[in-house]
């Protein structure tokens, strides 16, 4: 309608601005997730994701090594402990890895900015403590002072923006991660599923149908049964699930597959039937005149013509299954926990 005189109103800029605002508002949450996925737990805990692009200023309380084990005798009753605060703390493995540059430090929580790196703090009675920019420290004192627990240091450090792929590695490839995709997906694909026993699907179907209809025994018209199940399911209540769950011993992936099939069928039938009813009758009649069997009409004419409807339904079905939690929770987790 852009070519009609008068539609190009002075509001065009307002449209652009409001759309831009909407789009920004809508992608903002996802952006947070994206940025967070490249950060370490420590980074996520200490600063907002929007600060990830800038160097992070971090206050930390670190402790020197235990003087009883690590002190070095300097003679004259003097002792010394030397090392790197970050290494002792276990944050990094070696001095080269220290990510941060200490800007100020202190020895009491009230004055965390008392000293700059390289300063020597006098702790009284000849006890001295000094911290360098990269966290290297030197702590000197007499026998009494260098005992018990390590000296605390309150450091304020600036670490450059840092991104990591370790989260993705952990989720996708780490074989040690029991809940990672490496284990979950590959194992199920192999059919090696130690957690759940795979039930006989036919029995499962019977159980499902029995749960709905109150009929026990084999269900002759399996499709009909599942339509009934799905009919109930699509309305959102899950009496079928409740009943099936009570039925007992078929759980695991097959249960989820069956439930999702049941949930999807009624809508699939409804949508596809409506679409197929609208197909031109002449084509079908022509095919019949040309001697096609009903099955040939279905596979060679109806199905190809219904491709748009099939495709859009496939997309929707995928989305629903992908987004579903309740069915998986009910069928993959035992009632006993």
């Amino acid at each position: 309608m852009d070519n009609i005189a008068g539609t190009k109103s002075s509001l065009t800029w307002a449209v652009h601005i409001s759309v831009a605002a909407l789009v920004l508002l809508w992608i903002f949450p996802t952006l947070g997730l994206l940025v967070s996925s490249f950060r370490t737990t420590d980074q996520i805990r200490t600063s907002g994701w929007w600060a990830a692009m800038f160097p992070a200023v971090q206050n930390e309380t670190l402790r020197t090594a235990d003087p009883d084990d690590f002190r070095v005798d300097l003679g004259d009753g003097r002792f010394m402990v030397e090392g790197n605060l970050y290494v002792v703390d276990g944050q990094v493995d070696s001095v080269e890895d220290v990510p941060a540059v200490i800007s100020v430090w202190g020895t009491s929580s009230r004055e965390i900015d008392a000293y700059v790196p390289g300063d020597v703090a006098d702790l009284g009675d000849g006890e001295t403590f000094t911290v360098a920019e990269n966290g290297d420290y030197r702590w000197e004192g007499n026998d009494d002072q260098l005992s018990g627990r390590g000296q605390r240091a309150f450091v304020t450090a600036e670490s450059p923006p840092e991104f990591t792929l370790s989260n993705y590695r952990g989720v996708l490839f780490d074989p040690g991660n029991r809940e990672g995709m490496a284990k979950g997906v590959l194992q199920h694909a192999d059919g090696d599923d130690p957690g759940h026993d795979h039930p006989d699907p036919d029995r499962g179907l019977r159980g499902l149908c029995a749960g709905v209809d109150g009929i026990s025994g084999p269900c002759a018209a399996g499709g009909g049964c599942c339509r009934a199940t799905g009919g109930a399911a699509a309305t959102g209540a899950d009496p079928a699930i409740v009943a099936a769950q009570r039925g007992g011993d078929w759980k695991g992936l097959s249960g989820v597959w069956l439930a999702h099939t049941g949930f999807g069928l009624p809508l699939a039938i409804y949508l596809l039937r409506n679409y197929m009813v609208g197909l031109p009758r002449e084509v079908i009649e022509n095919a019949r005149v040309d001697g096609a069997t009903e099955f040939q009409i279905f596979t060679k004419i109806i199905l190809p013509l219904s491709f748009p409807a099939l495709a859009s339904f496939a997309i929707f079905q995928f989305l629903w299954t992908w987004n579903d939690l309740l069915v998986a929770m009910v069928f993959l987790i035992d009632a006993n926990g």
Partner: protein, 220 residues
């Protein structure tokens, strides 16, 4: 409680559809707004938990809400999800965020289908853009709006994942589906669990029937 999640934000959806149809980068904008549809409800819950996150007073806030709130002069960070009544709204935001794309795509298709003559006639008669939108376009897509509304209301009545992942029904945010799950698997109370499942079904059925009825009317 389930009912008050229905229908919020419906006003913004036709607007989003209307707006994105009129600009050159509308399709890009549309796919960006549609993107949350591809994120599972649980994923969205995680995303919004990050947004609503509250830290103790001293360290930097990592949740956007609290960071903004403190910037604007709030005294102390608030754990948003534990404030009754308002936490319901915060949970609704998650569903609106997900479902807007769906509503927008369908509604924008409907708006495109409006016969141009009606709009042209209105312009000739001197209608301003707002009048064209509210008096000419909206009435013509009313059927589609109803279909979208009923579809989303059904989703809302069945909502489980968001509540389960974000508050688990605490702080007065319980919904029926989560209640059912709670009774079935935590309390092992099959009777109440089944009853709540039935109630969800009974509540959804009339809307579903209406939805199907309207969808059929649309198709004709």
């Amino acid at each position: 409680v389930a009912f008050d999640r229905a229908g919020r934000g419906d006003g913004v959806r036709p607007l989003a559809a209307q707006l994105t149809d009129r600009i050159s980068w509308g399709n890009i904008a549309k796919s960006l707004i549609f993107m949350p549809m591809a994120i599972s409800f649980v994923g969205a819950a995680v995303i919004f938990k990050l947004i609503y996150d509250a830290r103790p007073e001293d360290p930097a806030q990592i949740g956007v809400m609290n960071a903004v709130y403190l910037q604007l002069g709030g005294d102390s960070p608030i754990t948003w999800l534990t404030v009754p009544f308002w936490n319901n709204l915060f949970l609704m935001v998650v569903l609106i965020w997900i479902q807007t794309g769906f509503a927008m795509v369908i509604l924008s298709a409907a708006i495109r289908g409006i016969p141009e003559e009606t709009v042209e006639a209105a312009i000739v008669d001197g209608a301003n853009p707002f009048q064209i939108f509210f008096k000419i376009k909206i009435p013509q897509i009313a059927g589609t709006i109803v279909v979208v509304w009923t579809t989303i209301t059904i989703v809302v009545l069945k909502v489980f994942d968001i509540v389960f992942a974000m508050t688990n029904g605490q702080w007065e945010t319980q919904v029926l589906a989560n209640y059912m799950y709670d009774k079935l698997f935590r309390a092992n109370d099959w009777g109440v669990g089944s009853a709540s499942a039935m109630i969800i079904m009974l509540m959804v059925t009339p809307i579903l029937v209406w939805n199907v009825y309207n969808a059929r009317k649309e198709m004709r």
